[in-house]
């Protein structure tokens, strides 16, 4: 599950939770400009695909930002 309210997803028992951007634009961020918006969205989706290829035993967070040190992502919105 990709969700901007990832804590809620975790506490309500979703097993593979991917941290989305924001409620109004979960898979990306239009404030970053087209190119970085795409890169951020792609990173989120790839993290989600990593998640469904990873064994888990309980609600687990997969954070695209942690995995993307090289990616500059701002949180303006």
């Amino acid at each position: 599950m990709i969700s901007a309210i990832y804590n809620l997803a975790l506490t309500t028992g979703a097993n593979r939770v991917v941290r989305g951007s924001r409620i109004e634009h979960v898979c990306g961020d239009p404030n970053l400009g087209a190119e970085k918006d795409y890169a951020y969205g792609m990173r989120i989706v790839q993290t989600a695909l990593d998640a469904i290829c990873t064994p888990v035993t309980e609600p687990t967070l997969f954070d695209p930002l942690e995995r993307a040190a090289e990616l500059e992502v701002s949180h303006v919105s």
Binding site: T11, E24, C27, L49
Partner: protein, 349 residues
Amino acid sequence: MQEPLRVVHYVNQFFGGIGGEEAANAEVSLADGAVGSGRALQQALGEQGIVSHTLICGDNTANDRQDDAMPAIETHLRTLQPEVLIAGPAFASGRYGLACAQVGKIAHALGIPAVAGMHPDNPGVADAMPNVYVVPTGETSADMQQALAAMTRLALQLGRGEELGPAEHEGYLPRGIRRVYDRQELGYKRALNMLVHKLKGEPIVTEVPIHAPEKVTPAAPIADLASATIAMVTTGGLVRKGNPDKQVSANATRYYRHSVAELRSLSGSDWEAYHAGYFNHIVNANPNYILPLNFLRDLEAAGVIGGVYEGIYALPGVSTPVAVSQMMGHSIAQDLQDAQVTGCLLVAT
């Protein structure tokens, strides 16, 4: 004195005295009067009810061969026309609990009130709701006497057509149904009383119980992403432009399935969000934010994933009761499983 109520009792092969696991494939059978654990039920009913017949079915038969077993049970119930059906108690036995739920639902559909007994964690509980009343029991048959006492009390009321009060008073598991009623005392007084009790270290009963979320066993990871078919589901309220299906913006009771077989991306001229829980304008400009088709198409072209499943599933996930969400979730999951989809991304706003 009132005529004794005519009761039909449903039990599995074990409690019906046919045998243990080796008899779990036993066919549906009908016995006269009370059988096995039904004798204790007859005792609990006393003179107020009579177990006219016992329906017995092996747990495997009831679950793996539902299409054979349930019509047979329905035929029996149609013929017998009991005033109430009592199923179980199944305690913590999953297959037995699910069977009790199925049989109870058949009875309900025939206008026969049904009561089952299960441990609150039995998977049959969710299946039985809301039409079959479930009395909470212990995990094992050590709790038989207490369980039967509570089940018969409810069954007698239901069989006589009496209206039941709230779950907490009548001793059945809450069915998620709210009714207006007068608590007699004003809210602030009740809240203060509760606080005083709490400060004194006395037990309190909340008026708004928070239910622990269901635990779902995580799916096994995908072994080979490059050959996997990936589906997408969104609770972001995605609709076709202009909402021709007339989906609601909150409290949805159904989802819509659309095909993206011909699409490589979602365009704001063909799709939009209709969701009462967030500002939709950003998604309206780029619906891929709530259903990332454009990204998956690129990954498909690059050979990272095997393919994108052609069906997408959409609803607005706002103000939806858990029971309704579960129903829709089960249905979507079943659909994806039938289509042999390998994995699924669910985007929740």
